[in-house]
């Protein structure tokens, strides 16, 4: 569920910017606004006159305002984080969005490079022709899309040798997920590698040389094909 929330965070960014002025104004007009706005419903009787006062300020967007205020003020951290995610790519925030494949998938999963996936899926497609005597079994649309995607994304025809070359980065602490992204993206320069995979930046000094070597080898492989 949390993922869903984050997925939506971007669209709401546009929304937020239009709302941004309202909580800010409220805050500057009355410092205590957010707390009383929250308690408004609960203590309406006691603060009736005051409640009226900012009702007229925020009635039109009162519904929207309350969550916005909550998001920005009471959970200020979260609001900030969302805007950071939005800006991270352009402004090099201290915590750029890092790829954390290992933490998000089960232990028994193995990352596949596009060229490997393409080989496997191709094999399955071949089998399906034989197995399709049963008309009720058919491959879903997503299979075709995935196969096409893997095929167009595959930069190399020989997954084993690519895997072998990239595997050498493992002893420098590069994770499986990062290796796969490297193979799929097929970067041309060392700078490109560190720009696209910010999680490697922390080990930049140590990795520059090996990455350079690997990129050269990959370029060789590609030429041979």
């Amino acid at each position: 569920m949390e993922k869903g929330g984050k997925g939506y965070s971007l669209p709401s960014k546009g929304l937020k910017s239009s709302l941004k002025s309202t909580p800010a104004n409220d805050a500057s007009i009355k410092g205590k606004d957010d707390s009383s706005a929250k308690s408004k419903r609960g203590r309406k009787v006691q603060f009736n006159s005051e409640a009226d006062k900012f009702d007229f300020l925020s009635k039109s967007n009162g519904k929207l305002d309350a969550p916005a205020a909550k998001g920005n003020l009471s959970k200020g951290g979260k609001g900030d984080r969302i805007s950071n995610i939005g800006k991270a790519p352009s402004t090099k925030e201290p915590q750029p969005l890092e790829l954390k494949v290992e933490q998000e998938i089960p232990k028994n999963a193995k990352c596949l490079m596009h060229c490997e996936a393409s080989q496997i899926l191709h094999g399955i497609q071949g089998q399906m022709v034989l197995l399709s005597r049963d008309p009720t079994v058919k491959l879903p649309v997503s299979f075709d899309k995935a196969l096409h995607y893997a095929k167009t994304g595959a930069r190399y025809t020989n997954p084993q040798s690519v895997r072998q070359v990239l595997e050498s980065l493992k002893k420098h602490g590069v994770s499986d997920g990062e290796i796969c992204v490297l193979a799929n993206v097929c970067p041309e320069s060392v700078d490109e590698v560190f720009a696209l995979i910010p999680s490697l930046k922390s080990k930049k000094n140590m990795l520059t040389e090996p990455v350079k070597g690997v990129l050269d080898e990959l370029a060789n492989l590609k030429q041979q094909e």
């Binding site: 993922k3 869903g4 984050k6 997925g7 939506y8 965070s9 971007l10 669209p11 960014k13 995610i85 939005g86 991270a88 790519p89 352009s90 969005l97 890092e98 790829l99 954390k100 494949v101 998000e104 998938i105 089960p106 028994n108 999963a109 193995k110 990352c111 596949l112 490997e116 996936a117 496997i120 899926l121 399955i124 049963d134 009720t136 079994v137 491959l139 879903p140 649309v141 997503s142 299979f143 899309k145 995935a146 196969l147 096409h148 995607y149 893997a150 167009t152 997920g177 796969c180 992204v181 799929n184 993206v185 970067p187 700078d191 490109e192 720009a195 696209l196 995979i197 910010p198 999680s199």
Partner: protein
């Protein structure tokens, strides 16, 4: 990113499928049930590649159905936040553009398109730099970074950005 993974599922089978073809029936039902579905944890189940193990069946009380625990290997596709993907643009509008990477839909908002690219309307809406050297339109290939994902029962939807170094158009259908 694609993964090869072992998953487990309890399959319920009607007694009419029992007999010497039980295993085949079980496997074809499994394929029908799981291929093309998606979950937040594993992403899209693209294809089953093998059956590891089919456990002992258990008769369900009150019905004739029997439940078999089935362990199977499959190829899944799941986008990750922070992953770099190459995607094909499917639609461009003033809000941004939609792109497709395999079974996954990606939206890139105009806030996440470099500021020097302007929206141009017309019968082929596109985003173009002021000097016209770079153009994003339908069928362009772009390299983007995933910054958010949402998963529902049949679809994975992502938010992406091209506002960073080494991201953006990799191949322009108009010039190709």
């Amino acid at each position: 990113m694609f993964f090869h993974i072992v998953l487990e599922r309890n399959m319920q089978l009607h007694p009419r499928y029992f007999g010497r073809n039980l295993r085949d029936n079980l496997v074809s039902k499994l394929m029908k049930d799981v291929e093309g579905t998606c979950s937040g944890r594993h992403g899209f189940v693209v294809a089953i590649t093998g059956i590891e193990n089919i456990g002992k069946g258990l008769i369900r009380d009150g019905t004739g159905f029997v439940t078999f625990p089935v362990k199977y290997q499959c190829v899944v596709f799941r986008p990750f936040k922070g992953e770099i993907l190459e995607a094909v643009v499917t639609m461009v509008n003033k809000m941004g553009f939609f792109a497709e990477a395999g079974p996954v839909q990606i939206f890139v908002s105009n806030h996440l398109i470099p500021d020097d690219m302007e929206f141009q309307s017309g019968d082929m809406p596109n985003y173009t730099t002021s000097d016209g050297s770079v153009k994003i339109q339908k069928d362009s290939e772009v390299r983007l970074k995933i910054i958010g994902t949402r998963v529902d029962a049949t679809e994975i939807f992502c938010i992406g950005t091209i506002k960073d170094d080494f991201l953006g158009v990799i191949n322009d259908p108009a010039t190709a």
